[in-house]
Amino acid sequence: MTAGILFTVAARDLKLARRRRIEALLPVVFFVVAASLYPFGVGPELQMLREIASGIVWVCALLAAMLSLNTLYVSDYADGSLEQMVLSRESLVLIAAGKALAHWVLTGLPLILASPLIGLFFGMASGTIAVMTLTLLLGTPVLSLLGSVGAALTLGLRSGGVLILLLVLPLCIPVLIFGAGAVTAFDAGLSAQGHLSLLGALLLVSGLGAPWATAAALRISIAS
């Protein structure tokens, strides 16, 4: 069994997204706008902003990643291709992994690319910005993976969007803690290695477990 189906599914999603470029950009725009709101709330003093920057960037990244989740399986469900995927002889786990990969490329990657801008807004040092980008690189895939479980579970439900948030956000708290913690530690002159290792571990665990859970969730949601 090859992993080919994973990349086929991911490529298909990316191709479909190219037709809806504006929609694909919404999460990253939200990310920038939301993060930019904080100075208006807490004041423009750079010293203070720098202290809270890592937390703000991470929370906004979290919310932005969640925003685009409820459409992850909706169009496939609507046009019947999801049912095809479930019934096909291909591994549903690999298909789920492929969809999560596509979601990360479309949502996570832009966030990573936009994050230095936010770092600038908050007066972060360039080394710190680099560490922050690295934490996002490790952490945003986890958000996509965990989020896809939520998206599969809430398929077709009216309150799907908010429900995904409620279900998935608590599970993302460890990623948030270690992601933001790494940046804070580095900024304070300490080593971020422990945090980054833990982020890597979370990525590994969710990479192995989440597609399985997503596949199970898809079968549950479609069975009815």
Partner: protein, 244 residues
């Protein structure tokens, strides 16, 4: 309790109807005993004064909130794996009670924190984990209640509860780490005094009281769920005829 996994809902309905009053009796007796021990036998604490007596409800509530989550997840997974309807119904019935205990643990934790540490809320590792546990309960309830198809709701709930249960150690570990990093780690509400034996006994008795309460209420709720779901069966219809 394995007996109930495959039992017919009607059997459960009959049996639980007999047991519930006894659970209530146990609840009342144990509560009276526990509170008596806690307030009239256990001595005053040297550091915290009388405020510490909140632990006799705070700690049992916290324990119940955690145990009930695991029990709920367990029955939900059993129901999902073996297609045992009654197991799934019990899981659904446990959730609100578990959430109640979690809320109570947070409330009493705050009321204990204020006189001891000066603040209504502190981001103590244990309280923070309780808060996240509340979110997990609310997520389970929100998901299962928003799915109309019972079988899908039960199975989806089982997956959510399972994922939650697996994540609880990860979340707890990361919260504890986070807590020690950001503060002087000295703020810990349940840095309880050295427990006099009477204090420990009172706490244990109160825990059993909460257990008995949980059995009573969860069984009551399960019976309601059984009636709701089995409405089309003859035995439920016959029951309806008995109602004035």
């Amino acid at each position: 309790m394995r007996f109930f996994t495959f039992a017919a809902p009607s059997r459960f309905y009959a049996l639980s109807g007999v047991l519930i009053p006894w659970f209530w009796l146990a609840t009342v007796c144990l509560t009276v005993l526990g509170l008596y021990l806690g307030f009239f036998v256990a001595p005053t604490d040297a550091t915290q004064g009388e405020a510490y007596r909140i632990i006799f409800i705070h700690v049992p509530a916290a324990w119940m909130s955690m145990v009930l989550y695991l029990v709920m997840a367990g029955w939900a997974v059993v129901g999902w794996a073996f297609k045992a309807r009654l197991a799934s119904m019990v899981a659904r019935a446990i959730a609100p009670t578990g959430a109640m205990f979690t809320f109570l643990a947070l409330w009493t934790g705050a009321f204990w924190g204020k006189p001891t540490w000066g603040a209504w809320w502190v981001w103590d590792a244990r309280l923070t984990s309780e808060l996240i546990l509340l979110f997990l309960y609310l997520g389970y309830i929100a998901l299962t209640e928003s799915i109309d198809d019972d079988r899908r709701a039960d199975s989806a709930g089982a997956l959510v509860a399972l994922v939650g249960a697996i994540n609880v150690p990860i979340i707890y570990f990361s919260v504890r780490w986070w807590n020690t990093l950001h503060q002087g780690a000295s703020v810990s509400i349940a840095a309880a005094p050295k427990m006099a034996e009477t204090m420990l006994t009172a706490m244990l008795v109160m825990t059993f009281a909460c257990w008995a309460y949980a059995f009573a209420v969860v069984f009551m709720r399960t019976r309601a769920i059984v009636l709701e779901r089995e409405a089309h069966t003859d035995w439920v219809k016959a029951l309806r005829e008995d109602v004035p």
